[in-house]
């Protein structure tokens, strides 16, 4: 056993995938000689050569489109978008081609490719470098959208994403890159499409993914010590598809649900989760489903981001408003 950061786990997953399958290729801006802005691809070009891990020009549409063309030919490209908002120039290639070609051709081609995106805030990264862009992708049928929250999941889910037959948008919570955990690699966690219970509880379900899972865990502990509430935390892991059964089993047990994400609440992914809970768990609910997220503003400056991002205080406030028996 050893202490492994999420960044190391991702790097190891890429290394093991490159080793396991000669069709796996890693490319993107500065992923070769530099090893990526966040060093996720560090050492890969040196170990596997520039045939397998190489720098591309600054051309996001070119990078993703080229990957689509290669995937059509049987390669498994893993491309990196340097930051969340840097992927927007490639939006057409992701949403109109990667997501739809299989359907458009009625299965004549498959696109086994991974688009890795360091995403979310919390590192003082300002606009363009801190976006939670998940809803853009989850709104596009044909894409699989996942986000790991732990080093073990980062390893296991990235490996599974690379072997998957469908294009995967792999959202890496950049503020958790340096989070350490005791992990023995290679680690095999739950299948990528499944949500998991990170902390069992009976009073209320906190639903989170990616960077907000750790925040939800902190809030759950605070709710126990400060409020005496027994909070269950569900790590969604996969946003599209959504593991409805795990979500609903938890909410049917607790009767209350709070969804936490960094993205602005309006039109955010939490609305989809809330709708699912309402549709499937209506008679089990003791209170309306609550959402805690970023404000409906462009990403703020570094000095203000702590207010914008959900934190323990805001989550406890949301829990407190869930129409508890003593308040009725």
């Amino acid at each position: 056993m050893g202490q492994v950061t999420m960044a190391q786990a991702l790097n190891t997953a890429l290394r093991d995938s490159l080793r396991a399958d000669p069709n796996v290729l890693v490319f993107g801006e500065d992923v070769g000689a530099l090893g990526g802005v966040f060093r996720i691809t560090e050492g890969l070009a040196a170990e596997f050569g520039e045939q397998r891990c190489f720098d591309s020009p600054l051309a996001e549409a070119g990078i993703v489109g080229t990957a689509v063309g290669m995937a059509m030919y049987g390669f498994r490209p893993v491309v990196e978008m340097q930051f969340d908002a840097f992927a927007y120039p490639a939006f057409e290639q992701i949403t109109s081609h990667a997501a739809k070609l299989r359907n458009r051709t009625r299965g004549a081609v498959e696109l086994p490719m991974v688009i890795r995106i360091p995403y979310g805030g919390g590192i003082g990264g300002v606009e363009h470098h801190s976006d939670s862009s998940e809803a853009y992708y989850t709104h596009t049928p044909g894409l699989t959208v996942v986000s790991p929250a732990t080093p073990a999941d980062a390893y296991s889910m990235l490996q599974e994403a690379i072997t998957a037959a469908d294009p995967v948008v792999f959202l890496e919570p950049k503020r958790r890159y340096w989070t350490k955990a005791e992990v023995e690699l290679p680690a095999a966690t739950e299948p990528m499409h499944r949500a998991v219970i990170r902390r069992a509880g009976t009073d209320v379900t906190l639903l989170a993914y990616g960077p907000m899972v750790a925040t939800a865990m902190e809030a759950a502990e605070a709710a126990r010590t400060e409020e005496g509430r027994d909070v269950e935390v569900v790590d969604l892991r996969s946003l599209s598809p959504l593991d409805e059964d795990t979500v609903c089993a938890s909410v049917r047990k607790t009767g209350r649900a709070v969804i936490v994400h960094e993205a602005p609440v309006f039109g955010g992914y939490g609305a989809e989760v809330a709708a699912t809970i309402n549709r499937r768990c209506f008679h089990y609910l003791e209170a309306p489903v609550a959402r805690v997220g970023g404000f409906d503003i462009p990403y703020p400056s570094p000095k203000l981001e702590e207010h914008h991002l959900p934190h323990t205080g805001r989550i406890l406030d949301a829990i407190a408003e869930l129409q508890w028996e003593e308040d009725r």
């Binding site: 070119g62 080229t66 290669m70 469908d166």
Partner: protein, 373 residues
Amino acid sequence: MAETATRSKPASGGAGKTRRNGTRSSGKRVQTGANNVFSGESPDTLRDYFRQMTLIRRFEERAAQGYTQAKIGGYCHLNLGEEATVVGLMSALRRSDYLFTNYREHGYALAKGIEPGRVMAELYGRTSGTSKGWGGSMHMFDVDSGLLGGYGIVGGQIPLATGAALAIDYRGGDQVVMCQLGDGTTNIGAFHESLNIAALWNLPVIFVVVNNQLGMGTTVEKSSAESELYKRAVAYRMHGERVDGNDVTAVNEAASRLVEHARATGEPALLETVSHRLKGHSVVDPSKYRSQESVDAARAADPVATFRARLIDSGVLDEDGAAEIERQAQADADAAVAFADDSPHPDVSTLFDYTYATPVANDSRRLPADPVF
């Protein structure tokens, strides 16, 4: 009209990949325009060009008819006026070579070797079409003949074609990718990104700008600071040249030379063909923005009529022979329509097929009449 952009390319470093070796053939200048001189093509080849061009003409006329009869949904962009370009380009490719096109691709599908019935059935949205009726006019797709898509969004196909060429480069095959695009597309960012990548990494892809002088209703001069589009190649140290797109033999000569050079060396190139659109941008476009002069020029340059005259003048065809080819083309187009009309529509149950390769939990597969829970 056969112009060449200056080009001096150093040894390409690219991504450090192995490159094929070869030498560049000398760029042969061809005589173009209306004359009776052919540069060595056999009479059979010339007659086959005429046969294919005539088939495309008749096919597109039937497509326009089908659209106005509401047999064809979506949008419908015709190759009328571009038959020489289409046939000249496609005759330069092997069946195993890959082709990516924009949405004006019916003729390319035919000339790449797909049966007319399957192409028309795709237009009609029927299950016997190249994409089982889901692609429609803009999204023909046929792996067997190497047509890796018509693409309905301007410029969308260019990075994909570049990626296919990169894949060929990795696999070490001798295939070549041709990426067809329109004049307006040269102003899309993906055009620049892709040409840079193709030249940087030395990829076997020929970008063909089919310059019909109108991007929908906007002229090349109004949209491109450098209206001689083949010169864009200079920025990437890529070979660029322009040919008369109304001259099937000139197009074929240039395309064949560039394709074979790419096959031998892996080097990309940019070929611009200049021709006219005989009709609107799509079937529903009345082209009111177009001057009578422009329409007259297009009609005068009609590549099918001029090529027919050249063949007869030069003795390759006689009037009866030409009429027989035209009769057969009409029969083939009519048969394609009949085949399409007789083919079934996709069943509503196929709505949920093919979105994902892996069945997923929230792929609800529910239709309005099904129970909600």
